[in-house]
Structure formats: structure tokens, C-alpha cells
Amino acid sequence: MLAAVPNPLAVQPRRIRRVVQETHDAFTLELDAHDGGHAFKPGQFNMLYVFGVGEVPISVSGDPAQPRTIVHTTREVGTVTRAMRALRKGAALGVRGPYGQPWPLERAIGRDVVLVAGGIGLAPLRPVLYDIVAHRRDFGNVVLLYGARSPEDILFRRELERWRALHAVDVSVTVDRAAGAWPGHVGVVPSLIARAPFDPPNAVALVCGPEVMMRFSADGLRKRGVRADAIFVAMERNMKCAVGLCGHCQFGPFFVCKDGSVFPYERVQRLLDGREI
């Protein structure tokens, strides 16, 4: 007898357990998955459906060791995410997933790990940080280089402080602009790469943020001596089906939803450098 194959397009309603306003336009939704869990790997995403409004792909930003809570962090940038932000505790959201290729953490075992995040790009990397902190001895130096638009736009401040205090992760934060009271670094995130404490030939780099920022970061990592095949980037495209059928997220020869959204940099470098894809 054939076993039933779960329908990859089936939407499951989930209740919102908590809404956290992270910055003026970024927020986190914690969804209840106590009825069976929602296992995922760092870097994967879910399709979130605001009933009657629309569906959007959002990376999971929670702890992979806590599958009974589904956590997503996103910004209010369009109709669906604005409607999502208006939802309150107890409201229902449709969830399907997880989808996509995860960050290749197995490649990082025994090596230095460089995480380069820009803006909301820190959210898809947070599960990696949870996983690394939980298995800290498996890795060499772990460096997080994080760039935000301004000090007010910095995500997950408390956790950044906690990881820094635990000496689990060497955290460097920079902002693109700041007023005089800001005591930290000002400049773009690739400018942090040159002096970050990692051994380039023995490092794996995971980069997530706007495409231009990823391109310049990859250039900086290569210049520092990180091998091209040890750099991974997370792409973002307009995903609809999320299972590689509809073609909305086509990126050159790839479907971002199925072949990505995490890609080896070497596979997409030519496309990232192109004027329009």
C-alpha cells in the first residue's frame, strides 16, 4: 500500500502567540505549533498567508531546537506585511513550509564561521547563530558582521549583547548613518571584513542582505582570502508556489524557492554582477 504524500501546497492555520515590534518597521511573529511541531533547518522559509489578503515568503528566524514555536521576523514593506503587522495575539495566519535549501552548516564544522548580515538579513541568519551557540565547540572563531541603516534599525539588540557577553560570537555592528551620540562603528558592513578575527582559508562565510551589499561583501571576503566555494548567499525573489512549479522566482537558470534561497556564491556570482535578471 502506498503511503500518503503530504501536499506541499497545503496551508495550516496557526495562532499568533506573540507579536514583538523590533524596530519602527520590523516585527517578529511567534506562532503556536505545539500540536506537532514545525521542524526546519536554518535558512529555510515558510509561505505565510494573511487570510483574504495574500501570501508572502518569509525566512524562519527562530531557534531550530524549538520546533513548537514558529518565529518569523520581517519588515512592513507591502500590502501583505502591513496586514500581517496589524494582526494581534490569537489571530490566525496560514503557514506552509518549510521550503528551500538551508545554510550549509555541516560545511562549517571545525572551521571559522563568518556571518555577514545587512538590515533584515540578520533574521534568516539568527537560526544559524542559535545553532552555533548551542554547539559552540563544533566551530572555530565565529564572527558576526552586521550592518543596519541607523542605530534605531538594529535588530535583536538583546541577543547580540548576550552572544557578545558569552564570548560565543565576536559581534561587530555598523550603521550607515548616525548622530553624534552613537559610540559604535559607522560605515558599510563590507568595511568590517578587513579586520575581523577569522582565518580566511579556513573560514566559511554566510552572507544575507540586499544584493548590492552581498556582492560587495563577497568581494571583501575574496580579497581577504576566503575561498569562493566557501561563500554562501541568500537570494530573495518573488516566490509564489515555493516548490519550483510556477516560475515566478526564476533567477537565471535557477528557481530561488527550490534551488535556493541559499546558494553557493560561485553559482550565482555572474548573475549578481549582471545589470538585470
Binding site: 533584515i120 541603516r149 548616525a178 548622530a179 552613537w182 559607522v186 560605515g187 579586520r195 548590492v212
Partner: protein
């Protein structure tokens, strides 16, 4: 006999002078002195004569621009292993921004007038120095262009 420690080992250990010919270093070191700044001290202010540039050894310095009725805006910070100040090299040798220590900062200050004279006297030193300065200028220009893109802003 008293021995005098020179700044040569410190200069050669700074990334800006990485792998510099020791002969050039011995020429440049005569323009160098050790300096320290407390948090809040100004290394220089906008509009002053640009008399020196700095090799930052530790700490952090903010380059700021002021506008009436607004708090100063930090446009860049420089820290350990970086250099601060290009105006000593380019006429009219006048600083453009305020440079304020946001942390206790240790640096080597290089006298711009002294360096320019040495570069004029020995163009091979001048060329070597200019190549290094030009590379940093190019990096900072690229970084500024990236900043101008405002990549984390809302798309309109």
C-alpha cells in the same frame, strides 16, 4: 648609555605601512610622533589647516559634519589599523570634517608638512606613499557610494 626607542617598529606594524621598504620607513619616521586622545577629544576640526594625518593604533574616531539646528552627523568611523586624514596631501591643506575620539584612542601622528617636504625631496618615497593613500581613498569612495545607495531603506 641610554637607548632611544624609535617609532619604526610601531610604524612597520601598522597595516598602512605593511611591507614598506625599511629605507622609506627610516625617512618617514622622522615625521612621526606618538599621540593619545581621551573620549570626546577632537583630533582636528573642520576648516583648520591640515597639518597631520594619523595611523590609528587603538580606539575609534568619528568623522562628523555639523549643520545648524541638528546634532552632528557621523559619516564614518575609523579604528585600529586604519588611517585618518587626507587633507594634508591636497591643497589648500585644509580639513573638511571634525574628527572626534569616540573611545580612548592611541595613534601615530605624521606631520604633513614634514612628509610633503620628504616626498618632494625623494619622489620614490612620495610615489610609494601616494599609492597607499590612493588605495584607501578608492576603498572609502566605494564605501561612500554604497552608503549613498541606502540599501536598507524602503524601496519606492
Amino acid at each position: 648609555m641610554n637607548s632611544v626607542e624609535t617609532l619604526e617598529p610601531i610604524l612597520s606594524a601598522h597595516p598602512f605601512f605593511h611591507d614598506l621598504d625599511p629605507h622609506y620607513l627610516s625617512i618617514i619616521v622622522g615625521c612621526a610622533r606618538n599621540v593619545r586622545f581621551r573620549t570626546g577629544d577632537f583630533l582636528f576640526r573642520s576648516g583648520e589647516e591640515a597639518t597631520q594625518f594619523f595611523l590609528i593604533r587603538a580606539g575609534r574616531v568619528a568623522l562628523e559634519v555639523s549643520a545648524p539646528g541638528r546634532p552632528p552627523l557621523i559619516i564614518q568611523t575609523v579604528g585600529e589599523g586604519e588611517i585618518l586624514g587626507f587633507s594634508w596631501l591636497i591643497p589648500p591643506y585644509c580639513t573638511v570634517f571634525d574628527a572626534r575620539a569616540v573611545e580612548a584612542t592611541r595613534a601615530i601622528a605624521l606631520d604633513g608638512t614634514c612628509l610633503r617636504a620628504k616626498c618632494e625631496a625623494d619622489h620614490s618615497v612620495g610615489y610609494e606613499l601616494l599609492k597607499r593613500v590612493a588605495q584607501i581613498m578608492q576603498e572609502r569612495l566605494q564605501q561612500t557610494r554604497l552608503q549613498l545607495l541606502d540599501v536598507y531603506g524602503q524601496r519606492t
